[in-house]
């Protein structure tokens, strides 16, 4: 872990100095989705989703409430079983790569244990305790490691959920609005962690309603509307020249249903 932390610090220092660009892109997992469909209770919720994610940076997922963003991520992560279509990760069925994936939920699910015990529970066998301590330090929770997790503030809880996901050393990280309802300081800590994580070569899909956050963090943007992907394009193109009527309306702040 010391080497991982050292690498992470070097990357951060390198970025601050304008030296290092992300060069781990070739190692990033590639996600391919073909004709994915999901219905619950007979209601179609995801329709004919086709998607290729193979870029170098963070993929932001935008769309109004009920557009199907969370459902899409849950399907990709294997928490929901779609009725049709296929999902492949690096050419393999996605359920075979579950151990390489982690997810942070919009409402963090924290076990009825201490901060430290939450992370320890998720850690793979033979994880060095120093590695866990180091991670807690990075998420600014080391000093309250022995506090019951569910007594933490919203920002602390979300940082803990992120730490718990990261201790599994995922190659793909699904983030479902991890900074929703957080104050700017807490959101900033999480954003920095996510950026650092992305620079280590982890594929990240990040749902947000915060357009500025999407501009700050994203490399490409998936826009969803009523269970369909209406756009998947480069961030700059999306924010300057969105094509779909729904995306244009969303970006201009219009209320869309």
């Amino acid at each position: 872990m010391h080497s991982v932390t050292r690498m992470s610090n070097e990357i951060r220092i390198g970025i601050e100095a304008g030296i290092i660009q992300s060069n781990q892109s070739s190692h990033r997992s590639k996600i391919a989705v073909r004709q994915l469909s999901l219905s619950l209770g007979g209601v179609p919720l995801l329709r004919d989703i086709n998607l290729d994610i193979r870029g170098n940076g963070i993929t932001m997922v935008l769309g109004a409430n009920g557009a199907g963003k969370s459902l899409l991520l849950k399907c990709l992560h294997g928490l929901l079983k779609p009725q049709g279509g296929e999902i492949k990760i690096d050419g393999r069925p996605h359920f075979e790569t579950r151990q390489q994936q982690a997810m942070v939920f919009q409402r963090p699910v924290l076990m009825r244990r201490s901060v430290l015990a939450n992370v320890t529970f998720a850690a793979p066998e033979n994880t060095d305790s120093r590695e866990i301590a180091d991670l807690l330090n990075r998420v600014h929770l080391a000093e309250i490691a022995n506090v019951p997790a569910r007594l933490l503030s919203g920002g602390e809880q979300q940082r803990l959920a992120l730490a718990r996901a990261l201790i599994t050393k995922p190659s793909i990280l699904f983030l479902d609005e991890p900074t929703a309802s957080l104050d700017p300081a807490s959101a900033l800590i999480i954003e920095r962690l996510i950026q650092d994580t992305s620079l280590t070569g982890v594929r990240i899909l990040f749902i947000t309603h915060d357009i500025n956050q999407a501009k700050r963090l994203g490399q490409d943007v998936i826009f969803m509307h009523r269970g369909e992907i209406t756009e998947h394009t480069d961030k700059n193109k999306f924010f300057t020249n969105a094509e779909s009527r729904e995306a244009i309306a969303y970006l201009s702040g219009e209320l869309i249903l």
Binding site: H77, G78, L79, R98, Q99, Q101, A102, M103, F105, V109, M111, R112, R113, F121, A122, P148, A149, R150, L151, R164, T168
Partner: protein
Amino acid sequence: MLTDAFAEAFHLIVSGSDALTEIMALSIQVSLSALLASVLLGLPIGTALAISQFSGKRIAITIVNALMGLPPVVVGLVVYLMLSRSGPLGVLELLYTPTAMVIAQVALITPIIAAMTHQVMSDLHDEYKDLFKSLGIGTGRAVPAYIWDARYSLSTTVLAGFGRAISEVGAVMIVGGNIDHLTRVMTTAIALETSRGELAMALALGIVLLMLALIANAVATWIQGFAQRNAYV
């Protein structure tokens, strides 16, 4: 007369009367044995009902819930018929022994432990299932985690089971027979001594029983308070 009975009852308790001590010891021994067996049976049943999927699950839950309300005398009667000389288990010659009383109490409190465990575990399972699936936690690791994280709620369940067992009278009267120095427990002794007009002994046993119930409730309340303060429930 009532004042005298109370005074004598307190004297019996304070002086540590042999008869009182013997009855108390047997009551606690029978109830704790029944509780242990019920926990060993009820905890896995309740947990399985909460986290596993199988056909007939709803029916099984309904049956367990219904068994919680079993009339103790009916349980006593059924256990009596099973253990009586002509019954299927008559060969074991357990009728009118403490073991028969333990069996009756197990039949009474196992559904309570199972139903309350099911409720506690269902809530926890609803909360944790996506997380565990996301982390790739299999049943082998999930079940101990559920039990550990539900430990405070489950300990309250166990104390409720103990309260029910120690205060039960109908079933143990039928299968135990209330035999002096053998199967006489606090509840059956209270019934007998009252009918004989020996109010001092009945009151002494009643006070001890009440104290045990109060201690069990106080412990349960403390556990719940501790767990709530630490957001463990």
